[in-house]
């Protein structure tokens, strides 16, 4: 006997990973899109007339995000101007291929595209950085630089907001990671839907409550084309444990992912716990939790041939840099962006250890 769709009594083709409901294709599209629409409405993410930069990597999350945002923008008349924004880290065999996907998406969705590259911003591609630093701490550089690069790209296209494709699994995983690492400051802000809106470009995550499995399902049934290869530079091993744990939890109780996000949202932190204070970087003038921001320390290390400068004992490195009299000038460092470690960073490759 065919299973009936729980919503329209048509023929069900899938079981929703989030709720277990059997649904037909059309009803799945409807609930998937409507949930994102309600997330946007409930959190007041957008105002009509805004320019919104979509962080597009060519991966499944950002591809689905771009598609759904365009669809919702037309359907519910948000009045947004959407722009695809990609960062070219300069990783041969990975980013060049994924950027081809983004370019194809640009044509399919008829959205403007802007690509900013590490090379033009910092004078270093990730390939060159890996040659210097090896395969151990390279993700630190990539994560710190990507955040800045997205911000600067968004400024170039005169965007009011950046949206990223972080999904519910990513956020739940970050909650777990922050507990496992004891990072109370990030734990507090990692579940908020919008971050970094103190005078800087706000970033939001419309897919915050969307399950990764459903994103893949949506892309599959909509026949969206995306790029799915892991970055060729090794992924973070410790994050792998958290990810595996999350997948096991999801298998036992499918609501676990949303439950973890709910837990993260309802945590309160004791008032007497010391939090990192936010200040501005002496070098590039942007928001930082230290005198010199992480990006400046990393870049200084690269340019001076001391790539390990910003890795590990960060405090000592920064003190050394400040003590050395801050030889770098603003023009040399080219840094005009926000500090990455000060704001949320859920990107899979950008959480340094």
């Amino acid at each position: 006997m065919p299973v009936c769709c729980a919503a329209c009594s048509g023929k069900a083709v899938l079981k929703r990973p989030k709720t277990g409901d059997a649904l037909c294709r059309e009803c799945f599209f409807h609930v998937f899109e409507t949930e994102i629409h309600h997330t946007i409405l409930d959190a007041n993410l957008f105002t009509a007339g805004e320019t919104v930069a979509i962080g597009a990597s060519g991966g499944k999350d950002s591809t689905v995000l771009a598609y759904v945002l365009k669809l919702l923008n037309d359907k519910y008349d948000y009045g947004l101007k959407l722009i695809l924004l990609s960062v070219d880290e300069g990783i041969t065999g990975y980013r060049d291929d994924s950027l081809t996907t983004v370019k194809r998406n640009q044509k399919q969705y008829d959205l403007p595209l802007k690509i900013v590259s590490y090379e033009e911003l910092y004078g270093w591609t990730m390939d060159a950085i890996v040659k210097e630093i090896g395969l151990k701490n390279n993700c630190t550089f990539c994560g710190v630089f990507r955040r800045q690069a997205l911000d600067r790209g968004a400024v170039l296209v005169e965007a009011d907001k950046i949206v990223t494709g972080h999904n519910a699994d990513d956020i739940a995983e970050t909650v777990l990671m922050n507990v496992l690492r004891g990072d109370i400051a990030r734990l507090r802000r990692c579940t908020s839907i919008t971050t970094g809106n103190e005078g800087y470009l706000p970033r939001c995550k419309p897919l915050k409550y969307t399950y990764e499995k459903e994103i893949v399902m949506y892309a599959y049934f909509k026949k969206l084309d995306y790029f799915s290869t892991e970055c060729i530079y090794s992924p973070n091993a410790y994050r792998g444990y958290a990810r595996a744990f999350l997948k096991d939890l999801e298998a036992i109780r499918s609501s676990s992912i949303i439950d973890i996000i709910h837990s993260g949202e309802s945590l309160s932190i004791k008032k007497d716990v010391k939090m990192p204070t936010q200040m501005t970087c002496l070098q590039c003038g942007y928001i930082s939790s230290n005198k010199v921001c992480k990006a400046c320390v990393l870049l200084e290390g690269l340019n001076k041939g001391l790539p390990k400068l910003g890795i590990g004992k960060g405090l000592k490195a920064r003190q050394k840099l400040v003590a050395a009299g801050m030889t770098l000038t603003n023009t040399e460092s080219q840094s005009t962006s926000t500090e990455s470690t000060a704001v949320l960073n859920t990107d899979k490759q950008s959480l340094e250890f």
């Binding site: 496992l180 676990s256 439950d259 837990s263 945590l267 309160s268 004791k270």
Partner: protein
């Protein structure tokens, strides 16, 4: 030299044999071995079975009578037993407990239910015998597991109450966790050198696969990670210490869920849905047996 305890203590053992479907002989056998250990300490002992939780008056747990009995502390030993001969082990209450568990679908929910019932019964015993504090043997390993398991079950808001030193949720009687700074390994070593015996009692997930329940999976995850990264338990435990109960914005007293004593401020639509389901299950009960198809 041991310092003299400045309070009067007693030991409570709750037999949970009904949870794992143990027969009367087995339950008595376990209780005998626990009893022999309990007798070595110079404390008054109390024995109860988990099903006795149904004997207690609703009011004794839900209300907060302000009694001023002496400074007495009950030490709960959740995996120990004693004189069970005079307790009935096949009573109506036993059947009721088994029925309740059989109707709780997931193993995770069963475990959580048993924990809730256990705490209610401890609270009842403490009030009945005039104890005003209940000490639990939770160690940092167990607490870091429960921090992560609470997170995974959406109970983030009650992590501070479930893991801090004192849990004052019930008003007049506190739960205390004096062993919380030690890891299970430290306790094991201490017991070994002092020849302190313990009894291993099968739980709901004994001999079950790792993914039998969220609690079991989290335990495996934490203990496994602890082997490769020995600071895991400590880091998670310290993270939990930095959390506190949410202040209600309008200074009204914190509201607790009457079943699990969770502090979570649930959104209105969830409370409405819970009410709707309770209403529907009451309706269903009224025409029990006349429903041809389960909906």
């Amino acid at each position: 030299m041991h310092k003299r305890l400045r309070f009067h203590s007693g030991i409570v053992y709750i037999d949970e044999g009904a949870v794992t479907n143990k027969n009367k002989e087995k339950r008595l056998q376990v209780s005998d071995s626990v009893q022999s250990i309990m007798r070595r300490y110079d404390f008054p002992t109390h024995i109860a079975t988990l099903e006795q939780v149904f004997d207690l008056e609703r009011s004794s747990v839900d209300e907060n009578p302000t009694t001023d009995v002496g400074d007495r502390v009950a030490m709960a030993m959740p995996s120990l037993s004693a004189d069970m001969g005079d307790l009935t082990l096949d009573s109506v209450q036993t059947k009721r407990l088994k029925y309740m568990l059989a109707n709780t679908k997931s193993v995770t929910a069963k475990e959580d239910l048993v924990q809730i019932l256990r705490h209610r019964l401890l609270m009842d015993i403490a009030r009945r015998y005039g104890y005003d504090k209940i000490m639990l043997g939770d160690c940092s390993t167990k607490l870091s597991i429960s921090i992560l398991a609470d997170l995974a079950k959406g109970r983030g808001a009650s992590i501070p109450l479930d893991t801090n030193f004192a849990d004052r949720r019930y008003g007049d009687v506190f739960f205390l966790r004096p062993m919380r700074e030690f890891t299970s390994k430290e306790i094991g070593i201490y017991n070994h050198f002092h020849n302190i015996d313990s009894v291993v009692i099968a739980s709901l997930t004994t001999k079950c696969p790792v993914n039998a329940s969220i609690n079991r999976l989290t335990e495996t995850f934490v203990t496994g990670l602890q082997v490769d990264f020995p600071s895991t338990v400590n880091t998670v435990f310290r993270t939990g210490e930095k959390l506190c109960v949410t202040d209600s914005s309008d200074n009204s007293p914190v509201q607790y869920c009457i079943l699990c004593r969770d502090t979570d401020n649930l959104p209105g639509f969830i409370i409405e849905e819970a009410r709707r389901r309770i209403r529907r299950s009451q309706m269903k009960k009224e025409f029990e047996g006349f429903l041809l198809e389960e909906d």
